[in-house]
């Protein structure tokens, strides 16, 4: 046994360290299409202090450390590009504190969205958080680290905008508090009125530290939730429809999806408009606002609301949406990945055209869901392609389609969300050189030995 293995056992106990082939194999890949690379060790810490010790050891041994939630970002962000230690954070799973009056919750670095949702429903049914549609094992911290989006993103911005404080183990081992919690016992603000230092950690994919606690803002959970479905076959109308719905400031979430299967769906755009209310009157009023807002399209015969049967409604309302996950197996292949540019909503028609063009060029099955962000400042548009894990050729085609989609999105002025290491390079190549230098300096300052998730955001 190596010294590092023994030292890790000393820190977390032998049940929570593995250097066996099976764990190295599994933690060396994710469900997406990036090339696998195995870690040397998989470790499951339980406390901030254990993480501190692991980081100190890693500095001493100059071995990489890669924090991992559920590995569901699909773009290989948790694949240890240079081996080393993968930290499976999911044993740090507690919900530490909930401040009902200041409306925030503090969770540990590996608490899952599923557990948080269930906890709120049970104990604080009038509060909610912005639940993404990723499977429920996705972790709250990692979702914020990659600037995820959820059910409240249309109203409140990226899920990372809803962070209200952090505790971080720096790459050099110090514990650091960020936000109001750095000067106060309360975790109500991630920055203001102080300098907002969360920017040193969110979006960095674990390359600048390991988040061990995160404060998250909670929002009112209204008693009733409903959904309406607007259908149009004209992609060019979608941006205005998104903006008009956003203008009402009344919709919970706006998601536009398109897919060619079943055939009757092809060429149609399904605009799901979610709303919440504390009374039937409130819901009715919001429904009416949605109707009135989109009436002109009905008048011009360009679209209309479609009635939703209870059978259709249940999966639409589910949080998270299981249908999103089911896409992986629509062709019995077990795989899908999406490139998800963040871009102005006006790009929707061009993106859809590209989505279909790539699917046809590479002979792939596709789908897309676009979520409006923050009332319409931008959207997340997904170029999703499914692939069969048992068919290397199809996997290769899907990867090529995603690479092209990423290039295209950048050309169109989009910014790639949760970029894989190649896409990070593409973006850094286009980045303002001074910004890139600043990123490099920050990284060097925080992580002098370059141990944290190396291969990612290598801003040289």
């Amino acid at each position: 046994m190596s010294d590092i293995y023994e030292a890790l056992v000393e820190i977390v106990g032998k049940d929570y360290v593995s250097n066996q082939k099976e764990e190295r194999y599994f933690y060396g890949r994710d469900p997406g299409l990036m090339k696998p690379h195995e870690p040397d060790y998989v470790v499951m810490p339980r406390t901030t202090e254990e993480i501190q010790e692991i980081v100190r050891l890693a500095n001493k041994e100059k071995t990489p450390v890669v924090p991992k939630g559920a590995g569901l970002s699909l773009t290989g962000l948790v694949i240890p590009q240079k081996g080393g230690i993968v930290l499976d954070m999911k044993r740090m799973e507690r919900i530490l504190e909930l401040n009902e009056k200041a409306r925030y919750v503090i969770v540990e670095g590996g608490t899952t969205h599923g557990v948080l949702k269930s906890y709120l429903q049970k104990h604080y049914p009038s509060l909610r958080h912005s639940m993404p549609d990723s499977p429920p094992i996705a972790t709250v911290v990692a979702n914020a680290v990659i600037h995820g989006q959820g059910r409240l993103t249309q109203q409140r911005g990226f899920n990372s905008d809803m962070v209200s404080g952090l505790e971080v183990v720096l790459p050099t081992g110090e514990i650091c508090r960020i936000g109001s919690c750095s000067v106060s016992p309360y975790w109500f603000s991630k920055g203001p009125p102080l300098p907002d230092l969360t920017g040193l950690f969110l979006g960095w994919f674990g390359t600048t530290g390991i988040i061990t606690k995160l404060g998250l803002k909670l929002y009112p959970c209204k008693k009733i939730r409903d959904v309406m479905l607007f259908l149009t076959d004209r992609a060019e109308l979608v941006p205005d429809i998104m903006l008009k719905l956003g203008h009402t400031e009344m919709m919970e979430d706006i998601v536009v999806s398109t897919q060619p299967i079943p055939l009757r769906f092809k060429g149609n755009f399904f605009i799901l408009v979610f709303m919440t209310g504390d009374s039937d009157e409130e819901i009715e009023f919001k429904r009416k606002m949605a109707w009135d807002t989109l009436w002109e399209y009905f008048d011009s015969r360009d679209g209309g609301f479609v009635s939703i049967t209870p059978d259709m409604k249940t999966p639409m309302m589910a949080m998270p949406s299981k249908d999103t996950t089911r896409f992986a197996d629509v062709r019995k292949g077990g795989g899908f990945e999406y490139s998800g540019p963040i871009a102005p909503v006006e790009k929707y028609p061009d993106f859809v055209k590209k989505l279909e063009e790539l699917a046809s060029n590479y002979n792939l099955s596709y789908a897309s869901a676009a979520r409006v962000i923050d009332g319409g400042h931008c959207m997340m548009f997904s170029f999703s392609y499914t692939f069969n894990r048992a068919d290397p050729d199809e996997m290769d085609r899907a990867k090529k389609a995603l690479d092209e989609a990423a290039e295209f999105s950048l050309d169109q002025g989009g910014v790639i969300w949760k970029p894989n290491i190649d896409e990070q390079k593409m973006m850094m190549a286009r980045m303002d050189p001074n910004t890139l230098r600043l990123m490099g300096k920050i990284k060097e300052l925080l992580d002098p030995n370059g141990i944290m998730n190396p291969g990612n955001w290598e801003a040289k």
Binding site: L72, D88, G114, P135, T325, A328, K332
Partner: protein, 389 residues
């Protein structure tokens, strides 16, 4: 290689299967116990696929991962994919490939050997199989039911208590029944789940033949495991018996007022056995029996029915206990959960749950605060006196 090998790549490793319906906490007993994702359903399926593809070699550790699944079917209930209902069959298929190649954990090998040599996994003599049953008669042609007792009911002290309670109740209710005693053999459910298909077939065929020789038409089982094997997996070997779990029979007797209850003050929570609940959708009968007893207050654990948390004993683990060790072993987790309901009694309907929980309650120091009783025993204690005399 079997059918699973062409399908298993379809798992997306999304992790839905690790949760119950409300996502409150992890519900795959093996993931809950070990916490490496390799021990989750997705981990098992991906590693098995890697083995099928030749990307990893067989190892003790791989076999241990595959065999730490208790076949509880939480994943089948929760996986959102169309193939969900096949997951456990895929795991069993992979196990049977390992069995064929003689690449199985030592404990599993010992389990098979014991069943083969002794007719039970506890390595006890077949001649003693009916020793518990003082006064219970052998099955005779014309009896309405064969009471199939199973290995734990026959040999384990706690299982025997269950078997006696049930036998006495059936006598009380004047049901015509009998047992096979030393002629009874292991039902093979665990052997099936552990992937020894040849041995399972042998056991199934022998049992079916024996039942037919005796002219058996209806079988009532003590264990949900035997109920599952006989009801579902014996069919392809020519079984044509009616099979009941004892809770179904007791429910029927209570409904018809054949058994009547007096007061029994207790606060009871009920454990859904995987092979009764998720496998065979019997959730209501045991509850209705308990609720029908005056004075019994039935309280639910947070995870119940389809979301129930396995005791950790499935797939032969009531003997091998591959998930043992530490506070996170499923049995210990579950007795804590039962205790947290405020119940004084944890009711079970399966001898495997019974022995797992008896051990777990001791380890948790709860043995004086939480009685573990089987539904038949609770019913027996609650019978109107005139019936019990």
């Amino acid at each position: 290689m079997q059918e699973y090998a062409n399908q298993i790549h379809r798992c997306f490793r999304c992790g839905y299967c690790t949760f119950p319906t409300d996502y409150s906490y992890f519900n795959c007993p093996s993931y809950r116990r070990f916490r490496f994702e390799s021990y989750s359903t997705g981990g098992r399926l991906w590693l098995t696929y890697a083995w099928v593809k030749g990307e990893i070699e067989w190892s003790e550790h791989l076999a241990e991962i595959l065999y730490s699944c208790t076949t509880c079917k939480n994943c089948v209930e929760q996986c959102p994919m169309k193939f969900a209902s096949d997951i456990v069959e895929w795991i069993v298929g992979a196990r049977s490939d390992m069995v064929e190649k003689s690449k199985i954990p030592l404990e599993v090998g010992r389990f098979f050997e014991a069943v083969q040599v002794y007719g039970n996994p506890l390595k006890l003599p077949g001649s003693e199989r009916g020793a518990w049953a003082d006064g219970t008669k052998r099955y005779e042609s014309g009896d309405e039911y064969l009471f199939y007792v199973g290995c734990l009911g026959s040999y384990d002290e706690n299982g025997q208590r269950m078997a006696r309670s049930l036998a006495e109740l059936l006598k009380e209710a004047e049901i015509s029944f009998g047992i096979l005693g030393s002629e009874e053999k292991c039902c093979g459910n665990e052997v099936y789940m552990l992937g020894e298909m040849g041995l399972f077939q042998l056991l199934a065929e022998k049992n079916i033949q024996k039942f037919k020789e005796h002219g058996v038409r209806k079988i009532v089982t003590l264990s949900p495991h035997a109920y599952n094997a006989m009801k579902n997996n014996y069919l392809k070997f020519g079984a044509d018996f009616e099979v009941y779990h004892y809770t179904q029979l007791l429910y029927d007797l209570a409904k018809k007022n054949t058994i009547k209850f007096s007061q029994n003050q207790a606060k009871v929570t009920y454990q859904d056995p995987c092979f009764l609940g998720r496998y065979n959708k019997i959730y209501d009968e045991p509850r209705q029996i308990l609720q029908g007893i005056p004075g019994i207050e039935l309280v639910e654990m947070e995870r119940n029915r389809e979301d129930s948390f396995c005791c950790g004993g499935g797939s032969g683990n009531f003997v091998m206990d591959l998930l043992a060790g530490g506070e996170e072993s499923p049995g210990r987790v579950r007795v804590r959960e039962a205790y947290e309901t405020g119940a004084d009694t944890l009711a079970v309907a399966c001898p495997s749950c019974m022995i797992m929980f008896m051990d777990a309650a001791k380890e948790e120091g709860l043995e004086d605060r939480l009685s573990i009783k089987d539904v038949a025993q609770i019913v027996k204690e609650s019978l109107l006196l005139e019936q019990t005399t």
